[in-house]
């Protein structure tokens, strides 16, 4: 019952969110602010995680290839495909669900319990649209860029780890990342990043918007936003993979 209740209310919430903004100049300014806050503010953590995961994927693949007949450039192929297909879109989005999702839910939840949302409603402003729509647009717009940056940094991290440890020669790795390259993998990853960006912003916005009580509930809603967003990302990852790669 609870699941059905939240699912129904979530779709009604989306209907409220996708309303015409009160004033376009205010809306565009909000989007720029959100891109800066949610997207640019996440660059650091995306870069750090990508470089290390890229390095670890390369080293683990290299250490697990025991047969001498398997060429070294296979490490580059494996690192590239892992990063493009799964790591940069899904894992980075899961990390963003934690960072950005909790930020959105706690910000909106605090506004709810301190009556700031009531103040917007009394003024005749659609508070759901005013607060959440710029975040949705910003996340849908910026998430693909974060994913592309993560791809570049992850592949670079793999190259650096292979080259500096001597496990994979630089030339072999570079050949590997170009070998049998399928450009659609990037498109697939970007499609996923758009969907995941939407899920993170709307689910976190939903939990924040319907917070009741005080600071304890804000914390609970923030946790719920992260958990539900993460589960939905995993579910939609499965669905999109079947739809796009089958």
């Amino acid at each position: 019952m609870t699941f059905l209740f939240h699912t129904g209310r979530y779709f009604l919430f989306l209907k409220k969110v996708f309303d015409k903004p009160v004033k376009l100049n205010i809306f565009f300014k909000q989007i720029i602010d959100e891109i800066d806050d949610l997207g640019v503010g996440s660059l650091g953590i995306v870069a750090i995680i990508s470089v290390f995961i890229g390095a670890v994927i390369t080293l683990q693949t290299a250490y697990n290839i025991e047969l001498p007949i398997i060429p070294k450039y296979t490490v580059g192929v494996a690192a590239r495909d892992t990063i493009l297909l799964e790591f940069s879109s899904t894992i980075v989005s899961l990390i963003l669900a934690g960072k950005v999702g909790s930020h959105i839910a706690s910000e909106i939840g605090t506004m709810r319990v301190t009556e700031q949302i009531d103040a917007l409603d009394v003024m005749g402003i659609n508070s759901a649209s005013y607060l959440v729509l710029p975040k949705v647009v910003a996340m849908v717009f910026i998430n693909p860029f974060l994913v592309m940056i993560s791809m570049g940094i992850g592949i670079f991290g793999g190259w650096a780890a292979g080259a500096f440890t001597g496990v994979v020669p630089s030339a072999e790795y570079i050949y590997g990342i170009q070998y049998a390259f399928i450009p659609f993998y990037i498109v697939y990853s970007l499609i996923k990043s758009v969907v995941f960006g939407f899920l993170i912003a709307t689910i976190s916005g939903y939990w924040g918007y319907y917070t009741t009580g005080g600071s304890l509930e804000v914390g609970r809603c923030s946790t719920r936003a992260v958990v539900v967003s993460s589960i939905q990302i995993l579910l939609f990852n499965l669905i999109l993979t079947q739809l796009l790669l089958a």
Partner: protein
């Protein structure tokens, strides 16, 4: 004028408002008083549309707020200013941005005109040098004054205040009360204040409605409240030992 006609409101089967009817007059400070949990905040929030009533009607100057579309309600909401219990200022905005916010959203004024209006509102609440401060840098009384400045920025016809004195010292509370009273007279607004502060009741309560357990029990002015023989009202007013002794003293002397 705002009229409340036979309003009922319940939450999860618990009736909070039971057949409440009242009239709030323009150019007057109207007070809703009652104990904590008596339903006065629910009544105030129902009047401004934050809660939908189960039965009954809310009427703004002949316009039925209860039965109108959301689009028409938006028009009335532009005529409303509201002061919340915790001020409800936007944390991420400065004092100036908070006061300018309704103008940014609803007016077509130029940047200079909005700046002028914002400064006028801040001057009206005696906060001329706080433009660039954030709400977290203000005292409780200053936050209330900024909230009043924001509430009057669009020249509202109706002003609602939910416990405007909560958390304030008695002196600051009187300053806020006097400010609300003066603004009500200046703009000829219909002001409704939700309070259980007896200083406010005696100081600015031109029309008072006493709510107990979700029902209107008494109605009158601050002059009539002291001589009322309504037991529930007297239990509320004279809850403090000091006031009780003062009343008994007056009664003994036949005043």
């Amino acid at each position: 004028m705002i009229e409340v006609k036979n309003v009922y409101k319940s939450f999860d089967g618990v009736e909070v408002l039971k057949n409440v009817s009242a009239r709030f007059e323009p150019g007057k400070v109207n007070l809703i008083i009652g104990r904590s949990g008596s339903g006065k905040t629910v009544l105030l929030k129902s009047i401004v549309g934050l809660h939908e009533v189960d039965k009954g009607e809310i009427i703004y100057d002949g316009r039925s707020f209860t039965n109108m579309s959301e689009k028409d309600r938006k028009q009335i909401r532009k005529e409303i200013g509201m002061l919340f219990q915790g001020s409800a200022l936007f944390d991420s905005k400065t004092v100036e941005e908070n006061v300018r916010f309704p103008l940014d959203v609803f007016s077509d004024l130029s940047v200079a005109e909005k700046k002028e209006r914002t400064n006028f509102c801040l001057k009206r609440v005696n906060l001329e040098n706080a433009n660039n401060l954030y709400p977290s840098e203000l005292s409780g009384g200053m936050q209330k004054r900024v909230a009043i400045a924001r509430a009057i920025s669009l020249n509202p016809k109706y002003l609602f205040c939910d416990e405007p004195n909560s958390g304030l010292d008695p002196k600051t509370a009187i300053v806020i009360d006097e400010l609300i009273y003066e603004i009500t007279k200046e703009y000829n607004m219909t002001t409704i204040i939700n309070t259980h502060d007896m200083n406010s009741v005696m100081g600015i309560g031109e029309k008072i409605i006493f709510i107990s357990e979700g029902q209107k029990v008494w109605e009158g002015s601050n002059n009539e409240i002291l001589i009322s023989d309504n037991k529930q009202l007297n239990d509320f007013i004279y809850a403090s030992k000091f006031l009780k002794q003062v009343r008994e003293g007056f009664l003994k002397k036949g005043i």
